[in-house]
């Protein structure tokens, strides 16, 4: 990135995001997944399918995704699959809520606290740049809403992009 780049754009398109956007992790359809959901962003036509393998005692053992989207939504989905694997459904849910707040609210407005892996949240901070780009919030949260639908809906579910 050159010095010509405006600061807020540099905030949005950090190297980590560009890297995950170009080389998404866990971009696959696992054969042994037992939960999935499809998410659509009607504004741009982007779509994502999230696949989860959830153990009987509620641990997300594997998370993966397929689909196509912008750098922000692809990076968000990629990082999400890395961060939720190995966590309980409750932990995933809490992480989603905090991440959602991070993308939509200023710091002092955070209402959810408590049992969230702060290190995971720190890693997701690179996506918080969308706060300055309200039209892009749904890009960052699409995969997460879809994950939420997959957890809530069981084997097949669908999600729409949040308009928040």
């Amino acid at each position: 990135m050159t010095g010509l780049m405006m600061d807020d754009l540099r905030d949005l398109y950090q190297e980590v995001i560009l890297d995950h956007g170009k080389n998404p992790r866990n971009f696959r359809h696992p054969e042994d997944s037992n939960r999935e959901a499809r998410g659509d962003n009607p504004m741009c036509g982007d779509k994502v399918t999230v696949y989860l393998k959830v153990s009987p005692d509620g641990i997300v053992e594997d998370a993966a995704f397929e689909g196509r989207g912008c750098a922000i939504s692809t990076a968000s989905a990629s990082m999400m699959t890395e961060l939720v694997a190995g966590r309980t459904e409750a932990e995933v849910k809490a992480l989603f809520e905090r991440f959602h707040e991070m993308c939509t609210k200023d710091d002092h407005e955070h209402v959810h606290g408590g049992d969230v892996d702060e290190e995971a949240l720190d890693r997701l901070q690179v996506l918080a740049g969308v706060r300055q780009f309200p039209m892009r919030v749904k890009c960052a949260t699409l995969a997460w809403h879809t994950l939420d639908a997959a957890l809530a809906g069981g084997a097949r579910a669908s999600a729409r992009a949040s308009t928040e």
């Binding site: 990135m1 750098a71 892009r136």
Partner: protein, 422 residues
């Protein structure tokens, strides 16, 4: 001399048949504002065009001087508002050269106009197995109402294919027309590609087989103008806000003899001659299709917009936009990795493109920070995006007020996208 310089020189030296665009820009107050401290470069007029002072003034004047409900009151204001309202209908008639003003039905939007035809004409005339022919480049508004009718009536939709350049395959079109074809519904000009369809030929061929034709003129009427008598289309629809007029107002043109055979679309006030609890006698056209209080101020605004366009001259506007498109096409083609969708030899005012691996949404955000407004998305033409196997494109659309410098600003901001995405 390279292509770009040639095109620009042609423009600058006055060989173009356009006009003094800087003078014209003064008519549009919003064009002098800044976005992120940069001059606004508005290249999204295909989604919605900016409004000239004349439209704004007409609407303000309507509300401050002459506002009342129309067709109802005996008082001076109502009579005056009604006169202005119906004068705007005559302006629309003149703008598209309809035979009579009663062939002009005011709707909420072009979408509502198509829905009106689908509901009223479609439900009356279509039976299970009947076929409607649309094209692969249609806007969702000219797909979904027919799909809803398909669900309700069991009709069949046939799709005219396009080639890689985004040109309608006319041979295939002709082959699709059969004894079961009851309607052809095709856009005048693609909002996502800029392709201009040979609508006159489309109508002639369909009429040769006794099939009526609806033309979606949302883009076509804006950039090319239309003479509905010359075109001989049975229905022609368009919206006000893409024509430099207000939102919330659309037009359904229909041949009087066809409209007269259609039942009302919605029931309510101002569309009846007489109501008793036993029966209702409906008014004639066009009022039969205009239930409820219409968009009075918006109709006045639309009339002002059309007067403005006619004064400026549709030929001159088209010439100006043609120069801009040629220049922009040459400029953007120089950017490595940029691919243009829609390269039909007959196209206007729209450049749809992708740039390397950058998603159109990312392109849109980055150029926006330079003050450049483009559309990034599927343009409500998802089947067309599927045809090109892209989720979306970025789209720059050019209007009567855009300049060569603005094209340069777009190109510069796109080079910035390449800096980020490599």
């Amino acid at each position: 001399m390279n292509e770009i310089t040639k095109v620009r020189q042609g423009f600058d030296s006055g060989t173009a048949t356009g006009y003094d665009v800087e003078e014209v820009r003064k008519d549009f107050p919003i064009l002098s504002r800044t976005i992120y401290d940069k001059p606004l470069v508005y290249l999204d007029s295909a989604a919605s065009a900016q409004k000239p002072r004349r439209v704004i003034d007409a609407m303000v004047s309507c509300m401050t001087e002459e506002y009342s409900n129309v067709h109802r009151g005996v008082h001076w204001l109502s009579a005056t508002a009604t006169t202005r309202f119906e004068a705007a209908r005559k302006t629309v008639q003149r703008f598209i050269n309809a035979r009579e003003d009663r062939e002009i039905v005011f709707t909420r939007s072009a979408t509502e106009a198509i829905n009106l035809v689908a509901s009223s004409w479609g439900r009356t005339n279509l039976r299970e197995g009947d076929e409607i022919v649309i094209s692969h480049m249609e806007h969702h508004a000219n797909i979904v109402p027919w799909q809803m009718l398909r669900t309700e009536r069991g009709i069949v939709l046939k799709i005219v294919p396009i080639d890689e350049a985004g040109t309608l395959m006319m041979d295939e079109y002709e082959k699709l027309l059969g004894p079961k074809t009851k309607l052809v519904a095709i856009s005048h000009m693609s909002n996502a590609l800029g392709t201009i369809n040979p609508v006159k030929d489309i109508v002639r061929i369909a009429h040769g087989k006794g099939i009526p034709v609806l033309i979606d003129g949302c883009q076509g009427v804006t950039h090319l103008g239309v003479d509905v008598q010359d075109l001989d289309a049975d229905f022609y629809v368009f919206s006000g806000h893409k024509l430099y007029g207000p939102t919330g107002i659309g037009v359904l043109y229909g041949k009087a003899e066809i409209l007269e055979g259609m039942p009302p679309y919605q029931g309510g006030g101002d569309m009846i001659a007489r109501v008793t609890f036993e029966e209702t006698t409906f008014k004639g056209i066009p009022h039969r299709f205009e239930a409820g209080t219409p968009a009075i101020v918006e109709v006045i605004g639309l009339g002002a917009a059309l007067e403005y366009l006619m004064d400026l001259g549709l030929d001159r506007i088209a010439a100006h936009e043609r120069d801009l498109l040629a220049y922009a096409t040459a400029q953007l083609s120089e950017i490595p990795g940029l691919r243009i969708y829609g390269t039909s030899p007959d196209k206007a005012s729209i450049l749809s493109f992708t740039l390397g691996d950058a998603h159109p949404h990312d392109i849109g955000t980055i150029v926006d920070r330079a003050g450049v407004a483009v559309r990034a998305g599927h343009h409500c033409a998802q089947p067309l995006m599927d045809f090109y196997n892209v989720p979306a494109t970025a789209r720059a659309s050019f209007a009567l007020y855009n300049t060569f410098d603005e094209v340069d600003a777009l190109a510069a901001s796109l080079r910035r996208v390449r800096e980020i995405f490599g």
